[in-house]
């Protein structure tokens, strides 16, 4: 009989050929977490520039205290789903805090952002309906819509005109339509033209808009409500899905909305009903950090400053960066072998970034993906840029003359 895993034999062979022996992204272990921005990996002191910990709140003292208190008061876990024994006062308080944070009437907390997308997208639209999703959406959105009975149509990434064309073709179909976009896209850090999408939405009847603010919550908007706030179109965005695993600094997912009867979803969403709820300590730290994020103007300024420093520093070396200034700084490498050598050179010099290869990336890009933390210091980022320069020069990716010119400029 065939081995169960033979199906993936070509993939495994490809992985072995690409990575060989030694450190690779699949065997990185943080032996010691020193702070939001530093850890020990393989005995080496390492600056972390690939954590999605945008606001650096993983060690926020008030959140730590709230988590400790909740742990002592309620124990290590709820041992039940939200619908059964898993809803504690903390979960209700967190939903109230989310309503307050996003200024929406309703909020539903899930166990992860992945499950929030799976749950909402597989449930919301029915057999007569249509989902129109941006082609670059996250895996959890793809997996969510696959479970939906609606027809699923992709439109070109960040292209309101393409969306418009596709909605026009559906204009005389009676079903509801749901547009699905993300605020900031995780791989390249590019931002959705949310005001333009909202304008397209307004042209048609029975159209709803959902935005996944995983990478923009806490980062964009005066009060951190993400790209809809920044673009001034919050009333047009009917559903915001998000995660606590990035700027909120813990784990969990949510969906907020102003639509009446939103709570119906609690009775019909399988990814909400059939999985255990978040532990009380996690819930408590998320609740506290929402307040910090709302008043986090100073942190957002730090992110902006740091993004600018890393982006311009790496661009000045002559490296290709996949998007404009953003908290995600993705350096494009010419091919997988070079990307892996680059990544390895960085980690062996004490810099951790994400290695992202196709098919997980748009345009078949091979990426060294850095993400900014508000807690990065200017000195840390200077060091990171210096190490990028060393490794890129060794790989022949930048010529030293350009670099000298850049240094003088």
């Amino acid at each position: 009989m065939a081995n169960l895993f033979d199906r993936w034999a070509p993939l495994m062979a490809q992985r072995d050929a690409l990575f060989g022996d030694g450190i690779n992204p699949f065997n990185v272990v943080m032996d010691e977490v020193l702070s939001q921005t530093e850890a020990t990996i393989g005995g080496r002191h390492t600056i972390l520039v690939g954590t999605n910990n945008y606001l650096g709140l993983t060690f926020q003292p008030e959140a730590l205290k709230a988590a400790h208190d909740a742990l002592d008061a309620c124990g290590t876990g709820t041992t039940g789903s939200r619908m059964a024994n898993g809803t504690y006062y903390g979960h209700k308080d967190l939903e109230t805090a989310l309503c307050d944070f996003f200024q929406k009437k309703h909020a539903m907390v899930f166990s992860t952002g992945f499950l929030a997308n799976m749950g909402i997208l597989s449930t919301l639209m029915g057999p007569e309906d249509f989902i129109l999703m941006d082609a670059d959406c996250h895996a959890s959105i793809y997996d969510g819509v696959r479970g939906s009975s609606a027809q699923v149509i992709r439109f070109k990434h960040n292209d309101p005109a393409d969306l418009d064309k596709r909605l026009a073709r559906l204009a005389d179909k009676p079903g509801n339509k749901l547009i699905v976009v993300e605020g900031i896209y995780s791989m390249l850090g590019d931002k959705a033209p949310m005001a333009e999408f909202a304008a397209v939405k307004r042209k048609y009847e029975n159209v709803y808009l959902l935005s996944d603010e995983a990478h923009s919550m806490g980062v964009c908007g005066r009060y951190g409500r993400g790209v809809p706030e920044e673009a001034g179109v919050e009333d047009d965005v009917d559903f915001i899905v998000g995660t606590f695993s990035k700027s909120v600094g813990t784990v969990g997912g949510f969906c907020v909305s102003n639509l009446d009867n939103f709570d119906t979803l609690r009775l019909v969403t399988r990814a909400y009903i059939f999985t255990a709820s978040l532990p009380p300590s996690v819930v408590a730290s998320a609740t506290v950090n929402l307040e910090i994020i709302k008043n986090g103007g100073v942190l957002r300024k730090r992110i902006e400053r740091n993004s600018e420093q890393l982006h311009s520093g790496l661009a000045a070396l002559g490296l290709k960066i996949a998007s404009d200034v953003s908290p995600v700084v993705a350096v494009v490498a010419p091919d997988p072998v070079t990307a892996i050598a680059f990544w390895r050179g960085l980690i062996e010099a004490g810099v951790y970034v994400n290695l992202a290869l196709p098919p997980a990336t748009p345009f078949g890009y091979c990426l060294l993906r850095a993400s900014i933390c508000a807690a990065h210091t200017e000195e840390q980022l200077d060091r990171v840029i210096g190490i990028f320069a060393d490794v890129a020069t060794k790989l022949g990716l930048i010529d030293t003359d350009t670099q000298k010119v850049a240094a003088r400029a």
Partner: protein, 88 residues
């Protein structure tokens, strides 16, 4: 897919023309050519190819139908149906 129905020759011809740009195996392109087995399409190539088809025919191809599309003929029939539903 309805095995007995035949796709429109125009649809088939356009599809074959688009496919030529994606045909890395040198396989002869016939109605019964299979995307995965004969042309080695992976999920990423399928997505790129579908996007070009959508542009060329000016249609939306729902993701839901893709699991039922194995051959060039299957896709041609699906496109004919979408064009008909769109009243074209």
């Amino acid at each position: 897919m309805n095995a007995s129905a035949e796709p429109s020759p125009d649809t088939l011809a356009t599809l074959v023309k688009i496919l030529a740009g994606f045909n890395k195996t040198g396989t002869e392109l016939k109605p019964e050519t299979r995307f995965t087995e004969d042309l080695n399409f992976d999920s990423l190539v399928v997505m790129e190819f579908v996007a070009v088809v959508e542009d060329d025919f000016d249609i939306s191809v729902p993701l839901n139908i893709l699991p039922d599309v194995a051959t060039v003929k299957d896709l041609a029939l699906a496109i004919d149906k979408i064009l008909k539903d769109d009243g074209r």
